[in-house]
Amino acid sequence: MKPEDIHSAFTRLIREHERMIYKVCFMYADNSTYRQDLYQEIVLQAWKGYDGFRGEAKFSTWLYQVALNTAIAGLRKDKRLELTHMPDGSLPDMADNAANNEQLEILYTAIAKLNEIEKAIVMLYLDDKSYDEMQEIMGIANGALRVKMTRIKEKLRQITKK
């Protein structure tokens, strides 16, 4: 069992970065139930791996790696199961806010047509990550990322034209 102060530090860091986790969930899960499920899995995987976080990279970079590895490499459930309710009955509201905004809906509809890796790159780009940070998270060389980004932008243009 990890000491209470480690738990408190982890909780504080997750709260500071919760919007980042939301974004990963919105990008990789297409309904509210699935998003909650993925959200819980990411937090759980982050907690399990927190001992290994040595602070060499920024916490956000490390958390992005955990979240994307969880979302991309199949650690989440394949089936959409029922919600796991918290003892206090509450969970973060993962309602489809994007659907309430026409512009965001266009964005997400277009991004949904990209492959898993392209989605991750777009998300990091939208999040204003530098190419160096993107390289650290993705493991793809800076130059290759720039080329990919140009192609993705063009692909999104084509998708939205149709």
């Binding site: 709260r15 790696q65 796991t84 969970l91 973060p92 806010n97 512009q103 999104l156």
Partner: protein
């Protein structure tokens, strides 16, 4: 659509989400993972107990006072023991492969490469162990004809050696094909998925 035009909108999208409470996070960290690998990991853990339990039935093979000499000459018992032991080694390999597959550290590419290498190694060792096992059984049966471990199999000596080889082949080649298909069904889809993701990175 110009992606850059959406940056501001995208970054403000979750501002109206209610914040997590500390209790929410604490509760999440105490949950059991419900991912497919975690569920598979739990199942594999149970299979690890089966062999140590079944070893009770083979204890006579190793303890002289319980008649090890006598039963040691029972080829069938040895064959069953070797098959079970091989399956146990496979179960241990499965356990560690699945455990390590749940690793979420490192950059995305390195993590995918690590998982791919784990699965390939697992796949390779599965075949080495099973081919070894499938070869060992006819070898033991043939040795029995010369060293007389078990007289129940000595009737094989009446058959022409070529006929015996054909007999072994008729039994073990279908077994090998079955094992291979079973493994491909279980692992190839994961290998293909990981290869597909790595191709997307190039």
């Amino acid at each position: 659509m110009e992606l850059d035009d959406f940056k501001e909108l995208y970054n403000n999208q979750s501002s109206d989400q209610p914040a997590l409470t500390n209790q929410n996070i604490k509760d999440m960290t105490t949950l059991e993972s419900q991912g497919p690998l975690a569920l598979l990991h739990n199942k594999t853990k149970y299979t690890l107990f089966l062999f140590p339990l079944s070893i009770v039935f083979f204890v006579k093979l190793f303890i002289p006072s319980l008649g090890a000499g006598e039963i040691g000459h029972n080829l069938t018992t040895w064959l069953v023991f070797i098959i079970l032991f091989t399956e146990y080694i496979v179960a241990i390999l499965n356990y560690f492969t699945i455990k390590n597959m749940q690793n979420t550290s490192g950059n995305i590419k390195a993590n995918l490469l690590y998982k791919l290498s784990l699965l390939k190694r697992r796949y390779k060792w599965y075949f080495i162990l099973h081919i070894g096992l499938l070869l060992l059984i006819p070898v033991l049966l043939e040795l029995n004809l010369y060293f007389h471990f078990d007289n129940r199999f000595e009737g094989l000596v009446n058959f022409n050696p070529l006929l015996r080889i054909a007999f072994y082949a008729a039994i073990f080649i279908p077994l090998y094909i079955f094992k291979k298909r079973f493994q491909q069904h279980n692992y190839l889809q994961h290998l293909n998925k990981l290869n597909g993701l790595l191709e997307q990175m190039d």
